[in-house]
Amino acid sequence: MRYEAPKTLEQAIALLSGANGQARVLAGGTDVLIQLRSGRADPQLLVDIKAIPEMRAVVADSGGYRIGAAVTCMELIENEVFARDWPGVVDGVKLIGSVQVKGRATLGGNLCNASPAADGVPALIAAGALVCIAGPLGRREAPVEDFVLGPGRTSLGNGELVAAIQLPRRAPHSGDAYLRFTPRTEMDIAVVGAAVYLTLDGKGVCRSARVGLGAVAARALLVPAAAAALIGTTVDEAALERLAAAASAACRPIDDKRGTKQFRVKVAGVMARRAAAIAIERARRQG
């Protein structure tokens, strides 16, 4: 196995394109190294993206943010300005492993690993984030909810990689939140994850909302029906109950060692409702 640490995006793309699909991008390596050790991945080339300056930066960009694909979770958590704008995204990032793991792990890697249970992803979906993709044919963007196709599968083509994740400008009177359910409080994998981003008007009526669910289907889902339950309401108990029902209805989970279908369906609604309650608190507080 060969290891390369290119200094530019162009070099990285060239290396990836030339490897006949036998290359793997290495960001923090907290998924890749485990897959290498267990024999689940056996690439001929590892392309480390941490030496590429533009991949290491969080750039404020027309009111939004561009998070380089090699920015670590700890860097993001400690970025106070970002954390103030997108606390729900940070909720998810904070849940990724331990402090040590977060010191290496990236949000980009969390997304590209394409686990249905990835904690960073539902809040990105709720926030309406875009994936900035670079490849031999140039650059393109895709909504996060369309980027992951299924467990371990993304829409990246040969030679393509994720350069950054783009978060939009946060709307006034808005808030986001992410909650997951795990049997353990830490060092666990989401049995269900739910993220809500909502915007209020001056009277406290919800004008727009997006709901993302993780670990309840082959990939994280955007659930418009759940968002619709909130829009036009003051996010009262009745609206929250409808949100929970819609979230549960959207689940297409499997029965496995981590949870039964029945459990996931029910708890998805509970987590969505509780996340919405936090999001609305934040929206009211943030103004």
Binding site: F181, P183, R184, T185, M187, D188, K257, G259, V267
Partner: protein, 764 residues
């Protein structure tokens, strides 16, 4: 020597204080060497081929392609090990049969579980070894298997062993069975007891096998020399027992194997049995190189012994005023692939906290297609007690009696006749109940969806063969060579404290360490909470021998009669001025002159320690149940336990806390998950969920000290009792919080939520 040293109350200077453990600094600086830290020049890496099937007949094993792979130096299979006749031996509290040991180490006729070893290779590196495993061709005839204990007991269930007929049934059954053994305990008249009862509670419980949760995987390094001697470094709870097992299965003289124990990253009963050790020696013998074998976490889970899963039925009869009249239980224990579960111990512990006239217990030891079980802290007791203490709680509630008061009305005390044999000596059960009742925790207010539970545990504790050497060095410091492994609890510190207390010197004058198997005679393994009890007694004997010799030397030097020399505060002094007058001599002074006064001074003990004192504990736990997710949060936890005497209270507290934490994991989330195909689905700590620090409150402890009369400092042993009560205490607290009695372990969120939803549906 069959030994007890009687308890003597005396003023203590060191025992009962909290000095730093001698292994502490190396552990926190990363310098301590665990099993996988040992290496030798020219070593090979050994790896094991394991069965992917739960049950299959082995038609053939072809290793030729593996052997032909460059870098492969040796391959061993069943053909490299001798057939063993039936022969039983003790490991900790459990028994093993060498016929089974040799088959568990390397499958012979059949593979009996997912993970069962079939072949082992030694190669120049790990990747070569792995590649070699892939080249070994095995032909199987896959057979239907039995995983569940209740299913496996049914006539017509897939059979693991054609030669196995249920023992303990008369006349001998005419058909083989997965039930290896039926046992029965009891006394009194159970039918009459239930006739006297005014209230009867009867429940059935199910538990899953659980892992000991040691963080260090099994690891060993073996070197077999051309002259037929072998050296072995391994992470073990008993290096002498490992040596005995290796010698037996490899047909070597015991004295030709020298085992050096490494620091151990946890064992809890899981490191009482050999797995790779004999394979590593065999591979070294065949290849002529040292061979190192380190298990992966997956191998630890799939192939080493957890404790049993079980089906437990409990029936209790009581008078209205709270006197238990009859106690009955059936315990059906998974043994794994070979017989020998802890059902025996579970039976004896089930009701022994109570003074009962009428008891009957039937136990079954059942083979199933899972790895052979091993010991786990108080083997079997937590499983039986989960059922019994749940039923006790339910009974107290039915009778409207406070659960601690109910236990007090029936509590075992000195003189209680047990239903398995002995009468209990001085014990501290009642004291733990009273201390729990008096604790502020027991009266603290609870919020909505919160509940409080109480449960209690009993464990025998054991003594057994123990040796040690105490050598006085030329500067007056001492080295204490122990034969029992310090299973990371800090027992080396406790032993050094007792020696320093006897000698009246400072703690850091005594350097304790664990000797290898060539340096001392046989020691039983560290199990049954015996370490500080038995090795402590041996250490005290050795210290008293040293004192005796010191007095003799001083009598000679000062030319006074021996009776005139007393040993006090680290000095030889005149007994009193009227008998003789001489200048006191310190330990260093005597040590410096030892060469001229008769040679080096040492104490030595070889004992079979007798008189272990039973331990009892009472646990209180508060939980909060999230009724929408089924998640159970542990809010507060208090362990009250009689330990006889806490030599080093901090390390005793560590035992009580650690036991409670393991019990919390057992209660809430831990379980082996097997698929329909009999393959283990969660062989790792991601999906086998032991608790993490943030899952737990501070575990409060109350140490009760009712001295064991059969130990010089009153030690009982304390490591096992604390894991017994948690499962029941938590189930009782959940019942108190939400009014539902849960009888299936783990009490995991999906199970709790299902019970809540079903109860709600039933009310509608």
């Amino acid at each position: 020597m069959s030994a007890t040293l009687k308890y003597q109350e005396k003023e203590l200077k060191l025992v009962g204080t909290r000095p730093l453990r001698p292994d502490g600094v190396d552990k926190v600086t990363g310098r301590a060497r665990f099993g996988a830290d040992y290496n030798l020049p020219g070593q090979l890496i050994g790896k094991v081929l394991r069965s992917p099937h739960a049950l299959a007949r082995i038609k053939s094993i072809d290793t030729s392609a593996a052997l032909a792979l460059p870098g492969v130096k040796a391959v061993v299979t069943r053909d490299d090990f001798a057939e063993m006749p039936d022969e039983m031996a003790a490991v900790g509290e459990l028994m093993i049969n060498f016929r089974d040991v040799t088959r568990n180490m390397m499958a012979r006729e059949k593979v009996l579980y997912d993970g069962h070893p079939l072949a082992a290779v030694a190669a120049t590196g790990e990747s070569v070894a792995r590649a070699a495993l892939a080249l070994i061709k095995v032909e199987y005839e896959v057979l239907p298997h039995a995983i569940d204990v209740v299913e496996a007991m049914k006539p017509g269930a897939p059979l693991l062993h054609e030669h196995q007929y249920t023992q303990g049934v008369k006349p001998k059954p005419d058909r083989p069975s997965n039930v290896a053994k039926r046992l029965e305990f009891g006394h009194g008249d159970i039918a009459a007891g239930f006739r006297q009862a005014e209230v009867i509670v009867e429940r059935e419980f199910n538990t899953k096998p659980v892992h000991q949760g040691y963080i260090e995987p099994q690891a060993c390094l073996a070197s077999y020399s051309a002259d037929g001697q072998a050296e072995l470094w391994t992470s073990t709870q008993g290096h002498f027992v490992f040596r005995a097992q290796c010698a037996k299965v490899l047909q070597m003289d015991v004295s030709k194997i020298r085992v050096t124990p490494t620091e151990i990253g946890g064992g809890f009963g899981g490191k009482n049995n050999i797995y790779n050790e004999a394979l590593a020696i065999a591979l070294s013998r065949k290849s002529g190189h040292p061979v190192k074998m380190v298990m992966t976490r997956e191998e630890v889970f799939s192939s080493t012994g957890p404790t049993s899963g079980a089906n437990v039925k409990v029936k209790l009869g009581c008078t209205r005023d709270g006197k238990i009249t009859a106690a009955e239980a059936e315990l059906n224990f998974q043994a794994g692939a070979f017989p020998g579960s802890s059902v025996n111990q579970a039976s004896m512990c089930a009701f022994t906290r109570y003074d009962l006239a009428n008891v009957r217990i039937v136990g079954h030891d059942v083979t199933v297609n899972r790895p052979k079980v091993a010991a786990y802290r108080a083997p079997g007791a937590p499983i039986a007690v989960f059922g019994v203490e749940s039923v006790i709680d339910e009974m107290a509630k039915k009778l409207g009696i406070d659960p601690i008061e109910f236990r007090l009305r029936n509590a075992a005390k000195e003189g209680t006749q047990t239903y398995y044999g002995p009468k209990l000596g001085p014990i501290g059960y009642i004291q733990t109940l009273e201390a729990a009742r008096a604790h502020p925790h027991y009266r603290a207010p609870l919020g909505p969806n919160q509940g409080r539970g109480v449960a209690t545990g009993f464990w025998f504790n054991i003594g057994n063969e123990t040796t040690c050497s105490l050598n006085l060095q030329e500067d007056g410091t001492l080295t204490l060579m122990l034969g029992t492994i310090d299973v990371a609890g800090g027992s080396r510190a406790s032993m050094a404290m007792m020696v320093a207390e006897e000698l009246g010197i400072e703690f850091d004058r005594v350097r304790p360490f664990v000797g290898d198997t060539a340096s001392l005679g046989f020691n039983f393994l560290t199990a049954g909470s015996r370490g500080t009890f038995a090795s402590g007694m041996a250490s005290v004997i050795a210290a008293r021998q040293v004192i005796e010799k010191l007095r003799q030397r001083v009598a000679k030097i000062r030319e006074v009669p021996l009776e005139a020399v007393a040993w006090k505060d680290g000095h030889a002094r005149p007994v009193d001025a009227t008998v003789a007058q001489f200048a006191p001599m310190s330990l260093p002074e005597i040590a410096r002159m030892a060469g001229k006064t008769g040679g080096t001074i040492a104490g030595h003990a070889e004992i079979n320690a007798q008189g272990a004192g039973p331990g009892f504990g009472t646990h209180i736990v508060d939980v909060e149940v999230d009724k929408e997710t089924g998640a159970v949060k542990i809010l507060r936890y208090t362990v009250v336990q009689d330990v006889g005497k806490a030599i080093h209270p901090a390390y005793v507290e560590g035992q009580l806390q650690g036991g409670a934490v393991q019990g919390i994991g057992w209660a809430l989330n831990e379980e082996y998950v097997y698929g329909e195909d009999g393959v283990l689905q969660n062989p790792g700590f991601l999906d086998y969920r032991i608790p993490v620090a943030s899952d737990l409150p501070f575990i409060d402890t109350v140490i009760v000290e009712v001295p064991n009369p059969n130990h010089p400092y009153g030690v009982r042993g304390c490591g096992e009792v604390p894991i017994i009560a948690p499962m029941a205490a938590i189930a009782n607290a959940i019942e108190n919080a939400i009014g539902l009695r849960l009888c299936e372990q783990p009490l995991s969120p999906p199970r709790v939520l299902k019970a809540i939803d079903e109860a709600a549906a039933a009310r509608r």
